[in-house]
Symmetry: C2
Amino acid sequence: MEDVAAHAGVALKTVSRVVNAEPGVTPGTAERVRAAIEELGFRRNDSARILRKGQTASIGLVLEDIGDPFYSALARAVEDVARAHGHLLFTGSSDENPAREQEITLAFCARRVDGLLLVPASEDHTYLQPEIEAGLATVFVDRPARLIEADTVLTDNVGGARDGVAHLIRAGHRRIGFIGDAPQIYTSAQRHRGYTEAMAAAGLAVDSSWVTQSAPTLEGVQASLRQMLAASATAVLCGNNRISVTALRALASIGRPDLAFVGFDDFELADMLTPRVTVVAQDVASLGRTAAELLFRRLDGDRRPAERIEIPTRLIPRGSGEMPPPA
Amino acid sequence: MEDVAAHAGVALKTVSRVVNAEPGVTPGTAERVRAAIEELGFRRNDSARILRKGQTASIGLVLEDIGDPFYSALARAVEDVARAHGHLLFTGSSDENPAREQEITLAFCARRVDGLLLVPASEDHTYLQPEIEAGLATVFVDRPARLIEADTVLTDNVGGARDGVAHLIRAGHRRIGFIGDAPQIYTSAQRHRGYTEAMAAAGLAVDSSWVTQSAPTLEGVQASLRQMLAASATAVLCGNNRISVTALRALASIGRPDLAFVGFDDFELADMLTPRVTVVAQDVASLGRTAAELLFRRLDGDRRPAERIEIPTRLIPRGSGEMPPPA
DNA sequence: TTGAAAGCGCTACCAG
DNA sequence: CTGGTAGCGCTTTCAA
């Protein structure tokens, strides 16, 4: 910038004014400065600007795995909002590992991101308390904060699971199973709760051998399905799309593609399988957009108490969830 | 940092030494400093550090759409390498729009990222020349740079398409079509070239009504398939996974799921459809990892001339590509 | 309308 | 082993 000033025969401050389109520069002077900028290939160093202004115009997004289509769709929605607000986006994948969540989060904090969007993996977010008190805007997405108060945007997991089960009940099923991920995962526990509530609301008993909650492996899901079928279940709700896909493979491999089936979370080609797969769809884009917009409202000075927003789900009947139980 | 120094009764510089684990501090002093850091909840401000060191320990990744599974898998591979090198990752989606590519890229440059990974959308990268000369390490991924010399990591598009067509020829097909994306897209043009070469190598004529190259819409792909079938084609190579999926839907809707079919690029559930879909799989993770590793080699001082690396593809036979032509 | 000087928070360099 | 000082490149403040 000093070089540009020398080249244009003006003071450094004048160059700054031109670069930032501040008022108070004669058109002629401005033109001379612009020419010097062009000639020297000057680009403002935002590092210095950031240091001086105390604002980085960037936000950080911590999620489980940017390579997972669910989270990448979330990231895309966040990016669009960030761009609309003139902010850049850092992303980091925690792999469901609390230590990595913290490592990435603190690295973002050290860079003084203006705001943080967090799909949490850890059970304790008190480590963020000092940052938040120091003014870091933070919004939790998809799962709530633990041990601190914070803005949160969630899917209506309980309601969605309830809808899925109610849908199977309407098709005539009474013996309905549930395969979910590990119960330590918030969304997994909530969806299990929705399943239980829907069964209770319909006055239906739940056989414990109809229910599994653990990390999805093909073998595990196969075993769960076998056990469930042995106990005469006629339908199943799967707790997330990875489980749905695994269960579909397992059903094909054990020769029972006829089990009535509802999956939580939509996935590409669900409508092209045989049978076409009925799902409870989450609105991932809305989840990301809503969270990012809330974040920017905070950055714009909104000081109201922490909010908790739930995004509704939508049941998409395609065939697999409408098959009646065998007579 | 000054506060911490005052609190611990030492000089600012000593605090800096402790924070950066530099040698030359008595354990006792270091302990006192650490206590002060803890008490004040101090976190180093990396903005200042960056300004001083001239190194941001961050890289930027510009791609078409972070929400697309292909690119999100790429991003994940890049993130892992970046993390291993202690760098943070900025991501930005260009949406295949040259102006946005440039806008995002220059924003990353203004932040003085140490390196740039680019899936280019534009036809002219001379705007990057000054940055590269100023020391910015840049690697192009999936598509080559235009009008400048630069490191590039590509998929072997020509070879992959050739393999896919040769596979159909081995199954007995002689009348093979190609549906690709717009020919302006580098990968699209290359795959078309592979198709043409394989047909020529086998001494087979290509009927112009077997070939379409345009942005994939359901209607467009449907029309292409109808035209191709009317001209007695018995097999088709699809130029990317979006086209494959669209074509599968189209074939289902026009009642011809029997056309022999090979898709370029693998996709989730390809093995669960009816028939199971044969693909030419790209190794996206390797693409991202290789590009990122090349970038960090440059950052570590490798000054050899620009490299061009091609990642091989792998044909995965699953059924749709092994169906013989009707007798 | 323009410019000079101070300083953001840190690290590099040289003294003690 | 410890401390002081200069300065990274910009914006802020105040003066001309």
